[in-house]
């Protein structure tokens, strides 16, 4: 049996735990509340107003003006998340973190029945409440898909066990968007085929689905029937990440090309540093841009070889920015590197002639930052933006390469 433990309004609940006067109050966790940004999490007290994670803060303030707006603290959330994983491993060694506030737990042997797994789930809920003063919702099922979907049936502090039959009884009459993995876009495409409920999807012809969606078509049909053979991978076995990225909502919309390049450099440096510290190299660089109209563009380019060098990442990300930015004020920028591989023991030399020299330099800079902190090295070239950056990366764009303030929107 599989359990999906989902912490209830995790970030907001942690803030309420840390600050007792916030308990029972609507709490909205965000970045710096005095600046703009998006809602990171909303407590259950705030949710009836319609506030949701990802919503712009401005809209949240309109819907829920009396909420407490609290700056999030990722250090605490990660620390509690790790302690929760430790707690789970006292119940079973098979624990797979799914996100910072969700984990799959596998129960085998004598506990492999729905009734016994439900008893264990109840004990896990009590242990979380006792030790952390936090609420958790648990879904129980014969596979990860059913456990995950069961966890959404009743919140907060819910406990929903479903076998395949119960899964079908509950979900088949519901709209197809209730399926795990079906978003707005896929729902629209399914509806065009006359598939409106989960039950419709389960009964659809496999060849029709394959014709419309390719290989995932028949998989969707299987999933709608409650079938899922995805294995649980315990976190002590480790799974390599598929991509690493960072994104930032700017403090104010910007059409200043120099500032935008500075941000892209900052993000490229952060991604590069993370790749190196975790021992990866990547091949595909993606740039995400969201403008003031909330139009989001995502473009990517693949290198001939693998790299973790921030200059190589920045060079491509900057080109992508120049190609796809149409001059509209930019609200959000993100840089991601994907197609990751474990870093080989010997430096790869196909990409750059002075690769070894750069790696030696990167390694020396990493050691300085490991010892003194991320902001210990400040690039002279990005000092123009230092008032707008909390952390300025090294290796800045030379201001002499372009006139200051010049713009290069796509024509």
């Amino acid at each position: 049996m599989i359990l999906l433990v989902d912490m209830d309004a995790f970030f907001a609940s942690v803030e309420q735990m840390k600050h007792p006067h916030l308990r029972g109050q609507p709490v909205i966790v965000c970045g710096d509340p005095s600046r703009r940004g998006v809602v990171t999490a909303a407590s259950y007290e705030a949710r009836p107003t319609g506030v949701r994670a990802g919503m712009p803060l401005q809209e949240a303030r309109r819907l829920c003006p009396h909420a407490h707006y609290v700056e999030g603290n990722p250090d605490v959330y990660v620390e509690i998340s790790l302690r929760l994983l430790e707690l789970y491993t006292t119940f079973t060694p098979d624990v797979e973190p799914f996100s910072v506030d969700e984990a799959f737990l596998g129960l085998k042997g004598s506990r492999d029945t729905l009734a016994l797994a439900t008893e264990w789930a109840r004990e896990i809920q009590s242990a979380i409440s006792e030790r952390f003063h936090l609420g958790a919702t648990i879904g129980v099922g014969p596979n990860k898909l059913i456990a995950k979907m069961a966890s959404g049936v009743s919140k907060p502090r819910g406990l929903t066990p479903l076998d395949v039959e119960a899964f079908r009884r509950h979900f088949w009459p519901l709209p197809v968007r209730e399926m795990w993995g079906v978003g707005e876009q896929l729902m629209g495409r399914l509806e065009k085929l006359g598939i409106r409920t989960v039950g419709d999807l389960a009964h659809a012809e496999a060849h029709v689905l394959e014709g419309a969606f390719g290989i995932i078509g028949p998989q969707l049909k299987e999933a709608a029937g409650g079938a899922d053979d995805t294995p649980l991978v315990p976190y002590h076995q480790g799974v390599d990440p598929k991509s690493m990225g960072h994104e930032v909502t700017l403090s104010e919309d910007s059409r200043d090309a120099t500032h935008l390049e500075g941000m892209v450099l900052r993000l490229s440096d952060q991604v590069s540093r993370r790749l190196r510290s975790e021992g990866f190299v990547g091949r595909t660089v993606s740039l995400k841009l969201r403008d003031s109209r909330f139009v989001t563009r995502l473009r990517q380019r693949t290198l001939n070889g693998f790299t973790a060098d921030h200059r190589a990442i920045f060079s491509i990300a900057r080109d992508l920015l120049r190609e796809q930015w149409d001059g509209e004020p930019v609200r959000l920028i993100g840089v991601t590197v994907s197609q990751l591989e474990r870093r080989p023991p010997e430096p790869q030399s196909e990409l750059f002639r002075d690769e070894t020299r750069r790696e030696t330099l990167s390694s020396a800079l990493d050691r300085v930052r490991d010892k003194l902190g991320e902001s210990s090295l400040v690039p002279a070239g990005t000092l123009a933006h230092s008032s707008r950056l909390s952390h300025v990366p090294f290796g800045a764009v030379s201001p002499r390469s372009r006139p200051r303030g010049s713009a290069w929107p796509r024509s």
């Binding site: 735990m17 600050h19 007792p20 609290v70 603290n73 902190g373």
Partner: protein, 82 residues
């Protein structure tokens, strides 16, 4: 709402059972007695490990304190201003 302060403060601290606990601190000319530690977490700054505490004062007011071993020093990071 929380007021960001980041002010150095004097903190009376106890080390007990391998753990550190703030007991009282002096702020704005008065002594705030810590009635309850409601949270504790860490953050790495280079090779240093900063320890943060969310605490309640005797009047249920709340604060965030940070112990920085590089000083060593204590910083009052935030206070709830109601």
């Amino acid at each position: 709402m929380f007021e960001s302060l980041n002010e150095p403060v004097d903190v009376l601290t106890v080390f007990l059972d391998g753990r550190m606990r703030p007991l009282r601190f002096r702020w704005k000319g008065r002594v705030v007695r810590v009635s309850k530690v409601t949270g504790e977490w860490n953050r790495r700054e280079g090779s240093s490990r900063l320890t943060f505490f969310s605490v309640e004062g005797a009047g249920s007011e709340t604060y965030e304190l940070c112990y920085d071993p590089r000083g060593p020093s204590w910083i009052l990071c935030k206070a709830w201003s109601g």
